[in-house]
Every structure is written in C-alpha cells, then in structure tokens.
C-alpha cells in the first residue's frame, strides 16, 4: 500500500510535464516563438564554429557596404567590419546579458518577496517601501546612475538592469507568499517544528516557483530591450565588442546615409524580443492553472449547436417546454466528452418539475442548454431539440433566441452574489431586464422595477434600488434575482439551485415566495436542486439525474413513496427524517410570512 502510494505520483508528474510541453506546442504562436528563439540561440551558440570573419577586424576603406555585397552578406559597418559576424557575436552577448540579468533580478527579487511576504509586519512594510522607492525612481535614470557609479561595461549594465527589475519579482512573489504563509500546510509545517528557512525553501518556494517562472518569461524580453537601451546610451559593451544595443547606438549616426547599419541590429533585437514575448505568453498560459483549463476563451452569445445533430420530434403536444434527446458536452484540448446524454424532459403550463441529482450529474448543464447559455467554447450541443411552444430553440436565429431569453424563459441562478453585476445598482439591473423586452420610458421603467422589487418582498424598495448587490443580504439578493426573472412574465422559469447558497430560514422564505409567484402567475417552473426535502415541498413531478442521464421520472408523491432506481433510493436516504422535512419547513416558513410580521 505504502509502496503504491510512493510510486503513483512519479508517472503522474511525468505525464503532467509531457502535457505541459504538449500544451505549449498546442499554442501555435508560442511554438513559433520557441522555434525562432531556439534558432537564434543556436546560431549564437555556434558563433565560434561558424565560418564568420573576425567581428572586430576593421577595414575603413570598405566601410558602409550595403546588404548583399560580396563577402559581406549584411554589409559592413562604419569601420568596415562585417555586420553579419558582429550581429551573431553581438546577439550572443546581448542574450547572455539579458538572460543573466533576468536571473539575477529573479533571485534577488524573489528572495525579497519571499522574506517580505513570509515575515509580514514591519519587515514587510519596510521592504515594500524600499521596493516602492525603486519603482518611483524613473528606471532609466536609476540604471544611468548605477552605471555612472560602477563605471561602464557590460557587467555593470547587467547589474543596473537587474536592480531596476527587482521590484517586479519582489511584488509578484510577495503577493503569492503572503497568501501561502497562512495556508494550512504551512501552519502544519510550522507546528511540526520546521525552521523558517526550511519552510520557505521546502514548503513555500515550490509553490511560488510558477509565479517566478511566469514573471521571468514575461520580463526577459523587456530586459533585452533595456540592455539595448543602455548600450544605446553608450553604457554597455566596450568597443570593439559587439552587442546589439551598441551596434544600434553606433550605427545610428549612419541612419540617413546607410540605414542598414542600424536597421539590421534593430531587426535582430525585435526578433529576439518578440520570440521571447510570444514564448513567455505561452509559458504563462501553460503554467497558470486558470488559463490552463482554457479559461481564456471568449464564450459566444449562445451555445454552439452541432449542425449534424439528431432532431427528435416533440413528444408532448401541450407542453410549454419539451426537451428531447439532449446531448451537451465539452471540447477541451481537442477531446470531446459528454456532460449530459439523451435527456428528455417536458413542462406543462403552470407545472413545477424538479430536476434532482448530485453535483456533477448534469442538472445545470441541462438547464443552461435550454436557452443556449452553456459557455461555448468549450460547450457544444451535439444532439437533441428544445421545443418552446413547439418551436425548436436550438434552430432559432440568434436574435430570436435572445428575444426569447427572459421574456418567455427566465432563469434564476444559484449564487446571487456572483450572478448579479457587482457594479450596477440592483434597481438598474431589474430595469435592464424589463427594458430588454419592453419599450418603456425611464420613469415607468423605474416604477416597474420598484413594483417588482416590492412584490418579491424587498422592503423600502425605492431606496434599496439604489444599492449595490454587496450591500444586500443573501436572501435579498436572491429576491432581486427572482424579480429580474419575473420582469417579463415568462412562461417558464428555470431556477438553478436558487436556495443552495442560503441558510435554512431564508431558504424557506424564498421557496415560499417562488411557490406563491408560480401559483399567482401560472408559470411553469423547472426547479433544479439536490435536496429531496425541497423537491417534496414544491414540485409536482420529479426527474432524477445521474451521470448526465435521467434515470427516473415521475409524480413527486409516488416517486418519494416508491423509488424505482437504486440511485434515487440512495438520494432519498440521504435526506434526514424525510417525513418531517416538509412539516419543518412549513413551520418555519409560516413564521416568516409577511402577515405574521410584527
């Protein structure tokens, strides 16, 4: 057992690395960058064995030969030196300096960041003020001053650039370290008696490493530019040694008469830096866990629908909403996997259907697929049809689909803190929902939204409408969500776990409100939950989902009394004292009914 535990991580790490490379190569731009950079580095490394003339051999009589002249592929410079040779040797110098400076800055900056973030308090404050000072000092002047003190020369330019870039590493690393230093595993290490240094080195550093690598890969290009800048000002390489910046700086005098002398090194700098930048972006995408999952893909206004999908016929003529044979899945890194398969559901007018299942069973994907709200990419609807009053939603043109959202089918989402826009006042968000489908002037919009807010039980709605979501309690926020869903008197409301994020008493109030509104307005309600207690309380019929499929459907009372599927039985067993749930909720919700308020 212990053996297998020891063995398991190794292949896993290996496969992870392989997939990192694969991911990197998957990014076309990044792989072009990698290839270009690899080529440039290779040429620079091979400089001593390539058949190049001496980069420092002057021949003033042959100065400023143009590109492609005989014996000088890229021409000659102001002293008749071969530009190609100087370019290759110069790239060698520039890249070495740029990369070394990156490394020096990374080591020192990260050390500062680690210590500062880990120690916290006064040390942190002091070190960060120091970093602030470095940042407030115009960077070129700082580099200038450092070189002025140390004297000219490549090494000193290297130090200057490293010092100038320390703040970036220090700041980034400090941020991550600060968060990590209060993490449980660090506390555990501390309790186990590990010293500070060893905690920093063995617990925190490995976790900070990706941030350091990302910062390095994104600043290396910048550092090469800065090296060039310093050499350009004459503070880098000493003659006759070539480096790209000094070639550019010295060649600048010929800008108007022999532009190639400075254009050639300029282009080389450009190529090196652009390949570094592209590669740096790729590395960041691979190493950043958020980006790795392909999160940085722009979701379209509606879920993609496979043009070759099977389109089953509607099954229930009088249903408001009729989902037939729905299959929705996700494509990640070229691999497709289905999240829901062959799901069929229908909703009669005024009916409440409960869709129940554990997390990951595909309830939400089903619900979002109905109005094409699954983010795509990566989502795609492969098969099936969604009939709204007999018309296939999936076949509707985009404008029509958008017109149906909110007006005929409305949604209430789970966590109202993230589902309401954090920077718009709630009144405006409700008005917006109304205005999307009704042409009203400003003041009637306002009146309508306040009336809606009042209807869902928000006290002093006129004043509250000016508040932002974070200023409201969870229950009130969900009431706002409901008000938005009600705004256009939809035929169907899809409530995706509307009460899960709320505490029990508030849950009861919200359920009450929903039931009441449903009765009052005759809407059909698709109620998604994982809680049989809630289902028993509100739903007429229930569909049970497991692993993306509907395993059992039926009348709530019948299904609860006599579950057929083993999974359903297990789910029911999970609800403590199922018989009392309803009474308990009724009891509690009664206490909070408006007529019982003091």
């Amino acid at each position: 057992m212990t053996d297998s535990l020891m063995v398991v991580p190794a292949p896993k790490a290996g496969s992870q690395r392989v997939s990192s490379w694969k991911l990197l190569f998957h990014n076309r731009l990044a792989s072009i960058g990698l290839c270009l950079l690899g080529m440039l580095v290779l040429v620079a490394l091979l400089a001593p064995v390539l058949p190049l003339p001496d980069p420092n051999a002057t021949a003033p009589a042959e100065r400023l030969r143009p590109v492609l002249s005989e014996g000088h592929l890229l021409g000659t410079d102001q002293l008749g030196r071969d530009i190609l040779s100087r370019l290759i040797w110069g790239s060698r110098v520039s890249m070495t300096v740029g990369f070394s400076a990156t490394l020096v800055a990374a080591v020192i900056g990260s050390a500062i960041g680690l210590v500062s973030g880990y120690a916290g308090g006064r040390t942190d404050n002091l070190m960060m003020r120091g970093v602030d000072m470095l940042m407030a000092f115009p960077y070129i002047l700082l580099a200038l001053a450092i070189v002025a003190v140390l004297g000219p020369g490549l090494m000193n330019a290297l130090y200057a650039i490293a010092v100038v870039n320390i703040p970036f590493f220090a700041r980034n690393v400090r941020g991550v370290t600060l968060a990590l230093s209060h993490a449980e595993f660090v506390d555990a290490a501390r309790l186990s008696g590990k010293g500070h240094v060893s905690i920093l080195a063995t617990e925190i550093l490995p976790n900070v490493l990706p941030v350091i690598v990302i910062t390095m890969s994104t600043t290396a290009g910048w550092m090469i530019l800065e090296t060039a800048g310093l050499s350009f000002l004459g503070l880098g390489a000493q003659p006759p040694q070539a480096d790209l910046g000094s070639m550019l700086g010295e060649g600048r005098a010929q800008l108007f008469t022999a532009p190639h002398v400075s254009v050639v090194p300029g282009v080389m700098i450009f190529l090196i830096v652009i390949s570094l930048n592209v590669l740096g972006d790729g590395i960041r995408d691979v190493l950043d866990p958020r980006l790795r999952s392909g999160a940085l893909l722009r979701p379209g206004p509606r879920t993609a629908v496979d043009p070759d999908r099977t389109v089953p016929k509607p099954g229930n003529a009088d249903a408001v909403l009729d989902v037939q044979g729905l299959e929705t899945g996700f494509t990640r890194n070229g691999h497709y996997s289905a999240a829901v398969k062959d799901v069929s559901l229908y909703l009669q007018p005024g009916e409440c259907l409960g869709l129940i299942g554990e997390s990951g069973s595909g309830k939400s994907v089903t619900a979002l697929s109905i109005m094409g709200l699954v983010n795509s990419p990566p989502g795609i609807i492969r098969n099936g049809a969604v009939y709204l009053h007999g018309e296939d939603v999936l076949a509707m043109p985009e404008t029509k689909l958008i017109a149906c959202r909110g007006s005929r089918v409305a949604y209430i989402f789970q966590d109202p803190l993230t589902t309401l826009h954090p920077m718009h006042p709630i009144g405006r968000q409700v008005e917006e929902a109304i205005a999307a489908h009704q042409r009203l002037d400003r003041s009637s919009l306002r009146e309508c939204s306040i009336a809606l807010l009042e209807r869902v039980g928000i006290p002093d709605a006129g004043e509250r409408a000016k508040h932002f979501p974070h200023q409201l309690s969870g229950g009130q926020r969900q009431r706002v969500g409901i008000a938005m869903a009600l705004a256009n008197d939809p035929d169907v409301i899809i409530a995706d776990e509307p009460t899960t994020a709320l505490d029990v008493t508030v849950q009861a109030q919200i359920l009450d409100l929903l039931r009441e509104l449903q009765k009052e307005r005759g809407m059909a309600l698709l109620f998604i939950t994982h809680d049989f207690g809630v289902v028993a309380d509100i739903c007429d019929r229930v569909a049970v989902m497991k692993d993306g499929e509907v395993v059992e459907t039926g009348d709530t009372r019948g299904l609860l009394a006599n579950p057929q599927h083993a999974y359903t039985k297990r789910l029911i067993a999970c609800v403590p004292e199922i018989g009392q749930g309803k009474q308990f909720l009724e009891h509690v919700s009664a206490l909070f009914r408006p007529e019982n308020w003091p």
């Binding site: 407030a136 070129i140 999160a295 940085l296 979701p299 589902t419 826009h421 920077m423 917006e432």
Partner: protein
C-alpha cells in the same frame, strides 16, 4: 475616501525622503564633480577646488544633506550648478512639458489599449484579434528610441507632415494646435509600449470577465450581445485594468527620458540625464523628487478612479 486619499498622500513623504537620501548617496558616489562640468576642458584641480568651495561641496556629505533638506523644508530647492538657475524654476518649467507629453501619452495608451484589448477579446481568433495581437506584440518588442527615429524619418523628413522635434514652432506657433502637431509623434512613440501592455491585460481581463456568472445573467435576461459586452463585461474588466494604467505611468515617465532626447522635447527626462552627467546634484534631487511624486500621484489617481468605479471597494 478623502481620509484614504490623505493617508496615501502622506505616505508619499517617507518615499520621497528615502529617495532624496538615495539620490544624495548615489550622486556622491559617481566619479567626477560638478566643477568639472562647469569648467569643461579647463577643469584644473585648482579651479575645481575653488569652485567646490564656492558651491559648498567641500563640506562633509551629511552636512551638505542637512543643509539641503533644511532649505527644502523652507521651500528653497537650491541653485543648479550647471545651469546657474534656481532648481525649482528649471524643474517646474521642464516638468510642465513632461506632464503634457506623459499625460497625453497616458490618455492615448489607455484609450488605445482598452479599445484594442476589448476588440481583440470580443473578436477572439478573428482577423481583428490577430492583427491587434501582432501589432501589440510588435509594439512592445521594439526599442522605443528606435521607433521614434523611424517615425521622424517618415513623417517629418519624407512626407513632411509633422514637425520633427520640439514642443512649439519657433515662430508664429505657441497655440494649442501647434502643440498638438508637435505632440503627435513623441506621444505616439511613448504610448506604444504602454498601450501594448494595457491591450494585453484588457484582453485577458475581458476574457475572464466574459466567463463570469453575472455575464451569463445578463445573457439570460435577453440583453443584446453589444450591451452584454460593453455595459456588463467591459465595466467589470476596466476596473481591474485601471491600477495597471497607474503603474504604466512609471514606464511612461521613464520612457520619456529616451523620447525627450530623440524628439528634443524640453521635458524633465532629458534634463535629468543631463543633470546626472554634469553631476548637478541639486537639480537631480529636484527632478527625481518631482518625477517620483508625480508617479505616486498618478498611481493614487488610478486607485481613486478604481474606487470610484467599483462600489465594492468604495464601501
């Protein structure tokens, strides 16, 4: 909020104080002295000594610093050795020019960066995204001083559309239009890198925001896509980009050193380079303090703007 702003403003002073100490130390470590710069090729040790005595540079460093800071607290920043002129006059005059250039550049890079980032995110993988991504990458991969020269070559020398250098026309100029014409090239050059950085960040922020729940809510309400993107997603994305614009102020102010030299802009960056080379310690002090303070203020302004735009931070 005013209390917060006041606190931030007060925190500028320790930074400035620290900087002034660093500047004094660094400048005193640079070999050579102001006397050489004043005397030029005629700097004999004897002359140098006499001038150092005249300028009070023969006193111990600590004493020099104490005298300086004492004067500064009374509003006297001293006289520039090399320019033979009060530091404050020169610094303020030069800083105005830099402020115009850096300010316009910042606005330019913010507007262009945000626009490009949004378009690029919304048209992800479309041709607009590809073009913008390439231009942005090219922009941040080019030495800015180099770009400046190329622009002068094209727009001033070849096509004669814009003035090559300076801030105002020598004669008959001096009005707003004249200033704008002179600003186009340097401000664009200066804005390129920062605009690239901002565009990249905006694109990433937009893509991230577009996946958030409240965007889905906006869609579920049946809002048209334009409204979803600009009223909902952009509004949230811009808030996370604003502090970065503040940080870019540092780069714009730093980059101004090259650009002011190339375009002969009478700003403080070119002045500081000169002042370092002439060992004009008081002028360097004055200049660095003003630049650093403005950097801090730019950041403060960015934070304030963010606070204004994001009600969550406000309360």
């Amino acid at each position: 909020m005013p209390a917060y702003a006041a606190k931030r403003l007060l925190s500028v002073f320790p930074v400035l104080f620290g900087l002034s100490v660093i500047v004094f130390l660094v400048m005193s470590m640079i070999p050579g002295d102001p006397a050489t710069a004043i005397l030029g090729a005629y700097a004999t040790p004897e002359n140098v000594e006499r001038i150092n005595r005249d300028l009070g540079l023969d006193k111990p460093l600590v004493q020099q610093y104490v005298i300086w800071i004492g004067n500064v607290l009374q509003g006297d920043f001293g006289r520039s050795f090399a320019l033979n002129r009060p530091v404050l006059d020169e610094v303020l005059e030069r800083f105005q020019a830099t402020l115009v250039l850096a300010g316009v550049s910042l606005v330019l890079c913010a507007v262009i960066g945000l626009l490009a980032g949004v378009v690029s995110a919304v048209r992800q993988f479309g041709w607009a995204d590809k073009v913008i991504t390439f231009v942005v990458l090219a922009g941040i991969s080019m030495p800015s001083f180099w770009l400046g020269l190329i622009l002068i070559l094209l727009f001033a020398v070849k096509w004669r559309l814009l003035p090559a250098s300076g801030m105002y026309a020598i004669y008959g100029g001096g009005d707003f239009k004249d200033l704008l014409l002179h600003l186009i090239l340097p401000a664009t050059t200066l804005a390129v890198v920062a605009a690239g950085v901002i565009a990249r960040l905006t694109r990433a922020a937009m893509l991230e925001v577009l996946r958030q729940d409240f965007v889905r809510t906006a869609r579920a309400k049946g809002l048209p896509e334009r409204q979803v993107i600009y009223r909902h997603a952009f509004r949230a994305a811009v808030v996370s980009v604003i502090p970065v614009i503040g940080i870019q102020a540092g780069f714009v102010l730093g980059g101004a050193v090259y650009i002011e030299t190339v375009f002969q802009w009478p700003g403080i960056g070119a002045m500081l380079v000169n002042a370092i080379s002439t060992r004009d310690i008081l002028l360097v002090q004055g200049g660095v303090l003003v630049v650093a303070a403005s950097y801090v203020l730019f950041n403060l302004a960015a934070d304030m703007l963010q606070t204004m735009l994001d009600p969550r931070i406000r309360s």
